[in-house]
């Protein structure tokens, strides 16, 4: 199949993760010839999402070069009938988990019961993200999607609620003005304080000489908050959910994040955040589609044997399953750089040592987290940032409204920066905060999975990198809420490749595409202009069972140019 591929490209991109897809799209957009390959048979690499069956298989398979330390556990029986109880497959289930499953049965009506079989039957309704993200409505990814017009390919759901943990309770963080006034979690004094504080944050920095600015330079955001005479509850809301800060976060950073939060409000929903429908795995695919629309060639499931750089011309020869293809430049995901190439110690831009990047947990439950009020309307997408000592984690709760799990199931993504090669241990302090099994009202889990996402320490200044190297390595996902670093990474590499070119200029809207020699009148050749409706009604009757062939020649179509749509409607 590789045989009919052209043997020369401007750019070969290996891996279809977010930064690679971004670079592929940007290069294709400015007219470069791009070959985009992925050794996997799916799009997205460590940024992909999977249905339940594929996800379980991926974890079962275990240690790839990009995902390691996998572990999964079912807390429910294979089949609905509890007597059946036979454990098969990779299960680690023990008697304790049986007890939990039975407990769920007691607590919940019969229609709430789940079995492994029943969940797997709905496998396709799951889109389980390896690297889930939440987007600021005015953040860098949304800006990029809108400015490049790639947003046309995807749909989003506004995050329904931003939550925080306060005195062992999960509370809603009021985001909009009406939220602040309607919330029962704050008293009237707190509401006024919060409004005043946020107004102040928004205005902050407008006047650089302002006293406050000088006063808090070098201090932490927490110190600043303490001096604002806000209550403990407001401080928690602001620190944990609005300014996304810890005790050590510098004042300027905290203010910056608060402003980012406030600046993203009122755009798409009640909160300042968005989540991509069907999961974040859609995002790289959107960029790939743009690349393809501008002529990029896509080949999944192709292995790279080697990359040989011609010493005199600096052209990269990519050996793709025996066939050599030349490219001016090669961009690769960290995990797909051929081992033989690494062993030769070739300078690769951006490539550093292999590290544990993210510790991830994925949990399924039949119940949402927190009070009924927090999940009104069936849940949606809730965001909860958790703190434990100096560490933090992001919890995303997804309901079927996000297109990532079936109805009746809640999907939880827990992400923290990897500390060790034991993701379960890294996440334990956060898991204890949310799925506390000690208490009676603890959430009953159906399934849990842990894994580590591997990365390479991004080192653009690795000493042995020759400035003229044609091989560039992208970064694996880092611990961040949005895609800020990933976009910076893609942009940086793109600039190294094509210094003066614009990064993803706006692609045209469909309405703007005019093909040479276009004659709008040609549209009406098949349409009968008069009394369209009546004839259509007749047609409808005769074509009750869609015997299309019979209606041939009598069918009536009126095709309107999009521009005339509104006039046409008015005329009705």
């Amino acid at each position: 199949m590789s045989d009919d591929l052209p043997d020369k490209f401007d750019l070969i991109v290996i891996g279809t993760g977010f930064p690679e897809s971004c670079i592929a799209a940007a290069a294709s957009r400015i007219g470069k010839t791009v070959l985009h390959i992925d050794p996997h048979e799916y799009y997205g690499g460590v940024w992909a999402s999977f249905n339940l069956e594929s996800f379980c298989a991926l974890l079962e398979y275990g240690n790839g070069s990009d995902i390691k330390n996998t572990k999964q556990k079912w807390y429910i029986n294979e089949q609905l009938n509890p007597e059946m109880g036979a454990e098969v497959g990779n299960s680690n289930s023990d008697s304790e988990t049986h007890a939990m499953a039975e407990d769920t049965v007691v607590r919940k009506p019969i229609d709430q019961q789940w079995s492994r079989e029943k969940l797997l039957q709905q496998s396709r309704r799951f889109n389980l993200d390896l690297s889930p993200k939440i987007l600021y409505s005015a953040g860098p990814l949304v800006q990029l999607l809108v400015s490049s017009n790639i947003c046309r390919y995807a749909e989003f759901r506004a995050v329904d609620r931003v939550c925080t943990k306060f005195q062992n309770q999960i509370i809603n963080v009021p985001c909009s003005r009406s939220d602040v006034f309607n919330t029962k979690d704050l008293n009237i004094v707190e509401k006024r304080l919060l409004m005043k504080f946020l107004s102040q944050c928004l205005a902050f920095g407008e006047d650089k000489t302002e006293e406050d600015t000088l006063l808090y330079r070098g201090k932490t955001f927490r110190e600043y908050l303490q001096e604002q005479k806000v209550t403990e509850k407001i401080r928690t809301c602001v620190m944990q959910a609005i300014a996304m800060s810890t005790d050590e976060t510098p004042f300027e950073v905290g203010i910056g994040r608060t402003q980012q939060f406030l600046g993203s409000l009122g755009r798409y929903g009640n909160t300042p955040f968005l989540f991509p429908m069907y999961g974040c795995g859609e995002i790289p695919q959107c960029f790939c589609r743009l690349c393809a629309v501008f002529g990029g060639i896509y080949c999944l499931k192709r292995n790279i044997d080697d990359i040989i750089v011609e010493a005199d011309t600096n052209i990269a020869n990519v050996v793709l399953e025996g066939k050599t293809i030349k490219a001016q430049h090669v961009v690769s995901a960290p995990c797909h750089i051929p081992t033989v190439l690494l062993e030769r110690n070739v300078g690769i831009y951006g490539q550093g040592e292999l590290v544990n990047s993210l510790s991830r947990g994925i949990f399924l439950s039949a119940e949402p987290l927190g009070s009924e009020e927090l999940n009104s309307g069936g849940g949606g997408v809730n965001l909860l940032r958790l703190l434990a000592d100096t560490r933090e984690a992001i919890l995303i709760q997804l309901s079927h409204f996000s297109g990532t799990c079936p109805k009746g199931i809640y999907l939880f993504h827990l992400t923290t920066a990897a500390q060790t090669d034991q993701p379960e241990q890294d996440l334990a302090p956060f898991v204890a905060q949310i799925f506390n099994t000690e208490t009676d009202d603890a959430l009953k889990l159906l399934y849990s999975a842990y894994f580590t996402i591997m990365g390479r320490k991004s080192t653009s200044s690795t000493p042995r990198v020759d400035v003229s190297t044609p091989i560039f390595c992208t970064s694996a996902p880092s611990y961040e809420l949005d895609y800020d670093n990933a976009i910076i990474n893609a942009r940086e590499i793109f600039t190294k490749l094509y210094a003066d070119a614009e990064f993803l200029p706006r692609a045209p809207d469909p309405e703007e595409i005019v093909i040479e020699g276009e004659d709008p009148r040609a549209l009406s050749e098949n349409s009968l202009p008069d009394d369209l409706r009546e004839q259509l009604r007749e047609l409808e009757k005769s074509a009750e069972h869609m015997d299309i062939e019979d209606t041939e020649g009598t069918s009536v179509i009126e095709i309107n140019q999009v521009e005339s749509e509104s006039q046409q409607m008015d005329a009705e």
Binding site: M1, E155, V293, E525, S555
Partner: protein, 221 residues
């Protein structure tokens, strides 16, 4: 909530009552995807339908995210958002996002090419596997202007289509034969009432939907 003010994706049927009491046209928008082997004339079909044009030596991709075309059926304005594969099918690398939220598909084969017909059957299977269960599928035997050198018999394809619940027509992007008709047939088969709106599928929103009418209810302004 995200479910208001959306336009893309699922059949967003809406019928607004005007102040003077007259019923305004219902507007529906549908995503339609094209599938089929390379060079069977997928892009040509779209181009004929949307622009009324045919180019003998059509470039394999036409550099568009998707094209749109509007049809009128009774009191309903049906807007098709037509997605072409952009060549991603060539090395069996079509992204799953291509099928997302698609309410209709046209699977195209070339009547002079038996392989392309077999491949079309594979695409139909793929659609049943990947796409929404309610998707309306049409099978188009293209290049019908060359029926004197056909390889795939009309009856054979028609029977296959009937067995699999597909709409079927032989089309010619070159002459325009049945091109509008196949889109119209699909438009008529698609559910356009609000009741059929969700069909259990979740709804999202496009980012550029409200670029123009952005609210400014920033909590501190």
């Amino acid at each position: 909530m995200a479910t208001t003010a959306r336009s893309g994706g699922n059949a967003s049927g809406s019928s607004a009552q005007r102040p003077n009491g007259t019923q305004q046209n219902k507007n529906c928008q549908f995503k339609l995807v094209l599938l089929g082997e390379s060079a069977v004339g997928k892009s040509s079909l779209v181009l004929r339908f949307v622009k009324g044009q045919f180019h003998e030596y059509q470039e394999s991709t036409i550099g568009a995210a998707f094209l749109t075309q509007t049809l009128c059926i009774e009191d309903t304005v049906v807007k098709f958002e037509i997605w072409d594969t952009a060549g991603q099918e060539r090395y069996h690398s079509l992204a799953p996002m291509y099928y997302r939220g698609a309410q209709a598909a046209i699977v195209v084969y070339d009547i002079q090419n038996q392989d392309s017909f077999q491949r079309a059957k594979t695409w139909v299977k793929e659609l049943h596997k990947q796409a929404s269960p309610n998707i309306v599928i049409a099978l188009a035997g293209n290049k019908a202007d060359l029926s004197n050198i056909r390889v795939v018999e009309y009856e054979e394809a028609k029977q296959y289509a009937e067995e699999n619940g597909l709409l079927f027509m032989e089309t010619s992007a070159k002459t325009g034969m049945n091109v509008n008709d196949i889109f119209l047939a699909i438009a008529k088969k698609l559910p356009k009432n609000d009741g059929a709106n969700n069909q259990g599928a979740p709804a999202g929103r496009r980012l550029n939907d409200n670029e123009n009418n952005r609210q400014t209810n920033n909590c501190c302004k």
